[in-house]
Each structure stands twice: as C-alpha cells, then as structure tokens.
C-alpha cells in the first residue's frame, strides 16, 4: 500500500492546510498507506508553510500510533495493559513471536502480519487481549492466541 501525492494534497485540503491538524493529517495518511511513507512526509513540508521537516519527523516518531515502515496486511496488537500483564499477556506475545518468527515491532517477510504491542485497549475485563485489525479477541491464553492467529493465516 502507498499513497499518492494527490491524495496527500486532498487530505491537507480537507484540513484547510491547518498546521494544528498535522496529527490528524498524519493519521489519515497512515490509515490509507498503512504507514507514513517518506515522500508523503516530504509533501507535507512542501505544502505547509512554516512546518519544518524536523517537526513532521518529531510528530511521527513521538506518537506511538505512527509507523515509518510498512506494516503487514494483518496488524496484531497484543495488549500490555496491567490486567493483561498479570493474566499472561507477555506469554501471549511470546507465543505469537514464536509462531510468526518475528519479534514485537516486526513484520513477517511476506508482509502478511506485523506484530506490535499496545499500551491498553481498555478491554481489561477480558484480559489478556489481542487486537487484529479492528477486532478484539479476549480471554486468551497461549493456545487460544495461536488459534486466533490461524484464522487469519
């Protein structure tokens, strides 16, 4: 996935080229491209007067929801909230790391899965939980997490 320069311009237009909306603009680019491509970031500094490449870079690395590298077709996010932590969230993460052969933060070579951790999904009553795309799966253990993964393979 990628995003065209025209699309970046359209997104900027929708936000009236307002620099305070920069985070929202980046979120929309990420939603469409799956990550923040360098050329799109460069386009932002071209079109927004007074916004330096450093500022765009600062935003895209400060906020956790942005990725500067392409992510997989399925984004797995293992919740690392407190309830998940004490109910085996780390074991779930390690199980998925072993199953996929990648570490947290990585993407499989065929780009079908990327594995990330997330602070807290707010589904603490169902801990430990895993989000795949938009779907949240709860009440997991290692075996159930592996079964969830198989559904997306």
């Amino acid at each position: 996935m990628d995003i065209s320069t025209e699309r970046v311009d359209e997104i900027l237009q929708r936000h009236d080229f307002d620099e305070s909306s920069l985070i929202a603009v980046l979120q929309e680019i990420q939603a469409e491209a799956g990550y923040l491509p360098m050329h799109a970031l460069a386009r932002l500094t071209e079109r927004l007067e007074g916004v330096s490449p450093a500022r765009v870079r600062a935003l895209s690395t400060f906020y956790r929801s942005f990725s500067l590298v392409p992510t997989g077709r399925h984004r797995l996010a293992v919740c690392m909230g407190t309830a998940c932590h004490i109910r085996g969230g780390r074991q779930v993460l390690e199980k998925l790391e072993r199953e996929l052969g990648i570490a947290a933060g990585g993407t499989t070579p065929d780009r079908s899965f990327s594995l990330e951790t997330v602070r807290c999904l707010g589904c603490c009553s169902l801990a430990p939980v895993l989000r795949v795309g938009e779907q949240v799966h709860g009440r997991l253990d290692q075996q159930k997490a592996a079964r969830v993964l198989r559904r997306y393979r």
């Binding site: 309830a83 932590h85 390690e94 199980k95 997330v118 707010g122 009553s125 801990a127 709860g138 075996q143």
Partner: protein
C-alpha cells in the same frame, strides 16, 4: 415486521429543539423506543461486548426476527458493567418488565425467541430481573446481584440501558433538561456555585475540585475561552472513560456545554485516545445528532448561547493525559508538558483560559444540575463527594466496571462486588491509580476508598483502575512493569524523569534477573525520591509510586529476589524453574503436546517430566495443566 436497529433510526422527524415542549416531544419518541409496545431485545455492544461476540448475537436476533416475521424490536445498547458475563442481553416484554441474560451465544437466539413468542420472559441463563419486573423464582432482582448490590450509578446511569446512538432515548432518560434549565434560568455564577457546593472533584486522577477550577477560568477576562474533555484514558487497566463515551456520549456533551456556559466559553474540544475507535465513532454520532437538533451550534434553546465542538484523536502517547501535554497535542505538537503556572484555567489552549476535565467529571455535571448539589454531596465520604467509577479487573471473579459511593472499603469492592479471588488463590494486593499509583496489601483491605485515604496509604485514586493481584503475581515484577511502561512513555523533556526512570528500571531489571544487591536497593529508593521531587509534570512526580509502595508493603519479596535469588510468585524467568509434581500428574499429555521446546517427556497415563536444560520457561505447560501438576518455582 418491526425489527429495527434501535431508537436512533426514528430521529430526524423533529426539527430544532428550542423549548421544553420540544424536549418533551423528543422524550416521548425516546420512551417509545426504550419501551415499545412489543417485545424488545437489547444487546450490549460496547467494545468489550463486541470482543466476546455480541455482534454475532445481535445479527442472530436480527436475522431470526426478520426471517420469522416476528413483531420484536432488536436494539443495541452499550455496556452494563458486568463484562465478566458478556455478551449481556436484556429482554423486555410489555407489561412484564425485563430480565438480563448473561453469556448469550448465537446458539441461544432461537430458544430465547421461542420463549418470548410464548409470552414469557426467558429465565435460562438469567443474570437478574430489572426494575418493574415481577419476581421470578430462581432469578435475583438487580440489586440482589452481588456485583450490583452496592453500586450507585450517576456517571454510568444510562450505560447499558439506552441506545447510545439515540438522542431521543437520552432525552427520555432525562437528558438535556439540565442544559435547558441552565441556559434559560441560571446565571453562570449560579452554575459554578452549584458545582462548588456539590463538592465534585476531578475524576481524572489528581482530584482537583471542579468548581474552583471553573471559577478560576470564569474570572479570566478574555473573549475566547475553551472547555476540553480529556478522554486520553491512558492508565493501563482502566476503561471507565471508554465505557461512558460508548454508552452515554450525550451526557458528556451536555456536561461540557453546561461547563462552557458557566465559564464563558463557546468552543470545546474532546481529545480521545486513538485506541478507542468505537468511542470516537459514537461521540461523533452524538455531535452530529445534537447539531441536527439544534442542541449544538448557535443560540441553543433560544438563550443566545453558542457552542461548537471539535474532536481530536490522540496519537498513542500516555503523557498526553497530562493536561498541558494534551494542549500541546491539540495544537499539533509533540505532547510535551508545559511548566505550570500559568495553569490552563489562565492560559491554556492557544493561550486562552481553558477548563480541562475528564470524561467522568463531565458526565456527572448534568446530574448535579438536575438533582441539585446537595443530592450529590450526600453521597460519598467526608472529603470526597459523590461516586467513582472503577474498572475492577485482574485476578478477581467478577471483572467489570463498577460505580460506588466514595468511602466504600476495598474489601467491599473486591469481595462483595468483585466476588473475591478466583480459583481458590490467595489475595495479595490491589493496584490503583495506574503507573502513578501503588499496590496495597491485604492488611489495608478495610481502607475506605477516596482520594485522601488512598494518598495517605501511598497510592492514588487515579482515574479508577483497580487491578486485583493474587499469590501468582510478583510485586517486584509489577514495579518493573510500570517503570518499563513509564520509561517508554516519558516524553524526555525534563532530566529527572527521563534519566531517573531509566536508572530505576535498570536496578529493577537487575533484581528480577537475579543480579540485585542490597546497595542497589538503597540507590533505588534515593533515585525514586529525586524523580518524585524534581520532575516537571505529574508523570515523573508520581512515577516512583509503584516502586515505593511495593518496597513499603512487600519488602520480603524484594529480599527473596536479592538474597535468595528466588521469585516466590514464580514470575521472574531467570529465577524460576519448571517441574512436574508426580503426585498430581495424571499423564494426560497436554503439556507434552503444547511444549514448543520439546522439553517435556512422558507416556500417556504416566507421570511426565520436564528437562530443565531444554525448557524455555514459556509457561505453556503451566497454562494447560488441569490438575495443576506443573510447578513454577
């Protein structure tokens, strides 16, 4: 055929709402969709419900009702709090009241509909009956359910009872009447006095009194002011704000408008975590519906008061829950906190006077205006009025979202409401206040829960996360966990927080990995004090709390790790080994099947064993062993 997706669909037949009579019309509409003249099935569809499959249950009902041409309304609602037993479905029959059903699966749909067709309320899998329902044998009434008995709902009053996407249903539940009365018959000063008299304190964490905060902003002579809703609920283990936004978004909006009127603001902003897409969607819907009805925008209720609101999605940075960092983020910058003073009430968003309150605080406001400050202040403890919503999670039998009067004891919350620790395990600690809070031990279970009592015990109320921990939780690991979290989330602007947390984490890693020394423990305490005293914002100032509270209440666990190189809870990998208790092993072979390292040996129906040399300590065998024969120690 009357299958609809809830009351929201009927909206739009009414134009602008300008008077009480208009509200009454809307209310009538809402009441008809809340309690239709035909059977009604409401499915709990907040994020937690959806994660347990309530979407499939809803679809199942909808399809079956349609296919059989039944005169039954299938509606959506949000979370009624008891997440442990999701999916939860409410069934209401005209004239017969309603029951709540728990753990409903798509396979149960036909049986439930069959029962309804026969004119009876289903009782299989019933959790309880709701108000107005004749007693049913074997089914407790709502207040008789342990989980609900001690709860008093103000902020959660509508969650799970109305369709959050229906403006008429919110009005039917009393919504927007407080705003109407405020705008047309109260002066801004009256509103502030009422909020002050109610004793409401900010529900986001620090517990700053809300009325005086508003008063400070109102006193600023500036044409442009802002109100902000902080929905950047970052504390891991807490989801009160998500649930309120998903279950009752109009209450937050109404609260913000009342606040805006009181302080003289015409613009609002809500900053919602990126991790809460459903909350964002429902709040946006509420804004659109309120706009269409003229409850937002220009000249609301013909009072001359204008209000507009903007929703900002967070970028996934914990520090943005800190109010000045949140302001930076709304302005399109990295969320690095500002020096206070000046406080946001003087100079906030775009340098303008700004009132920032969290979701739960705003949700309380319409109720305070509707019932009066005394009604509110009669609830709660001497110094903390009203109720507080908590997410009661972790190693507790009844997990979910609860709202209780301030001043209930921890014991009442964990054991009466929460049902205690499951699987016969022993209670060890309760963690409150997220990464800024601490862990309290068993001998403090009779502590009364309010801002001041918790602070005096070395933790904080925080936004309301309560994580119960049992004997299998290592307190040193918990402290390490929070520091790891904070190290990544520290924005790096000030040195004590950025560097100090890293130093503390290094020491805790040493302790958890069997390299800790007594000297380091001393250094840990010293560093903690320095980070607490010299950090710029609340994140750093409270970051040492998890360490200090566990050192204070669980020193023996630190000692075991340092002196004996043992983790008594069996958590810290470097300090534990796995083995099988031959007296408990039934030779089922499950452990052998799941072991990814080929470390388990044994034949079916004979005692198995673990080769510690091959074991990678992944705990897979521990998780699957039914008789509990796998030992971690």
């Amino acid at each position: 055929m009357r299958a609809t997706t809830g009351g929201g669909t009927t909206q739009g037949t009414l134009g602008r709402v300008r008077t009480v009579a208009d509200l009454d019309t809307l209310k009538g509409q809402g009441l008809r969709s809340l309690h239709p003249p035909v059977p009604k099935i409401s499915v709990g569809m907040a994020t937690c419900g959806l994660a347990t499959g309530s979407g499939d249950v809803f679809e199942g009902f909808r399809r079956e009702v349609e296919a059989r041409g039944l005169d039954v309304v299938v509606a959506r609602t949000a979370c009624i709090g008891f997440c442990q037993v999701e999916p939860v479905v409410a069934v209401e029959l005209p004239g017969k009241g309603a029951v709540l059903l728990k753990d409903v699966k798509p396979l149960d749909v036909r049986d439930i509909l069959e029962k309804i067709r026969g004119g009876d309320l289903p009782t299989d899998g019933a959790l309880c009956t709701l108000d107005g329902c004749a007693p049913i044998e074997g089914v407790p009434s709502y207040p008789d359910v342990g989980f609900y008995g001690k709860q008093v709902k103000i902020a959660l009053r509508n969650c799970g009872f109305i369709d959050p996407e229906s403006l008429p249903e919110y009005v039917a539940a009393g919504g927007y009447y407080a705003l109407q009365r405020t705008l047309t018959s109260l002066r801004p000063g009256d509103v502030i006095s009422a909020v002050k008299r109610s004793g409401l304190r900010g529900r986001g964490g620090a517990g700053f009194p809300t009325g005086p905060k508003w008063e400070a902003a109102a006193a600023e002579a500036h044409e442009e002011k802002f109100v902000v809703c902080n929905a950047d609920e970052g504390d891991p283990g807490a989801y009160m704000d998500r649930s309120i936004l998903e279950g009752d978004p109009h209450a937050v909006l109404e609260g913000m408008m009342i606040g805006a009127y009181a302080v003289g603001a015409n613009q609002g902003c809500i900053y919602v975590r990126d991790e809460y897409p459903e909350a964002i969607r429902r709040f946006e819907r509420a804004v659109a519906d309120a706009l269409a009805a003229g409850l937002l925008g220009r000249d609301i209720f013909g009072s001359g008061f204008d209000f507009g609101i903007r929703l900002v999605r967070g970028g996934g940075a914990f520090v943005c829950g800190e109010e000045t960092a949140l302001i930076e983020s709304v302005e399109g910058l990295p969320g690095e906190p500002r020096q206070r003073p000046p406080f946001p009430a003087q100079q906030g968003l775009w340098g303008r006077p700004t009132v920032i309150n969290n979701v739960e605080t705003w949700a309380n406001i319409p109720q305070i205006l509707e019932h009066g400050p005394d009604w509110f202040s009669q609830k709660g403890s001497a110094t903390c009025k009203g109720t507080k919503v908590f997410s009661l999670v972790g190693k507790v039998a009844n997990t979910g979202l609860i709202e209780v009067p301030m001043g209930l004891t921890l014991r009442e919350i964990i054991f009466d409401i929460g049902g205690g620790v499951p699987r016969g395990k022993r209670f060890k600690a309760i963690q409150t206040g997220g990464p800024s809070g601490g862990c309290l031990p068993e001998n403090l279970l009779d502590l009364r829960v309010d801002y001041d009592e918790l602070t005096s015990a070395g933790t904080i109320m925080g936004s309301g996360g309560m994580i119960v921990m049992d004997e299998d939780t290592c307190m040193v690991d918990v402290a390490r966990y929070f520091l790891e979290f904070l190290k990544e989330e520290s924005c790096g602007k000030c040195t004590p927080c950025r560097e100090g947390i890293g130093h503390m984490l290094a020491i805790l890693n040493d302790i958890c990995e069997g390299r800790g020394t007594e000297l380091e423990l001393h250094l840990l305490e010293q560093t903690a004090q320095a980070v607490k005293d010299f950090s710029l914002c609340g994140l750093g100032q409270t970051a040492p709390n998890p360490v200090l509270s566990t050192l204070r209440y669980f020193p023996e666990e630190y000692e075991s790790h340092i002196r004996d190189r043992k983790c008594p809870a069996g958590v810290c990998k470097q300090l534990i080994g796995f083995g099988i208790d031959p007296s408990l092993c039934n030779g089922c072979g499950l452990c052998l099947k799941v072991c990814p390292a080929g470390a388990v040996a044994g034949e079916l129906k004979k005692t198995h064993s673990i080769d510690e040399g091959k074991c990678i300590k992944c705990s897979a065998c521990y998780e699957v062993c039914k008789p509990g024969a796998v030992r971690r120690a």
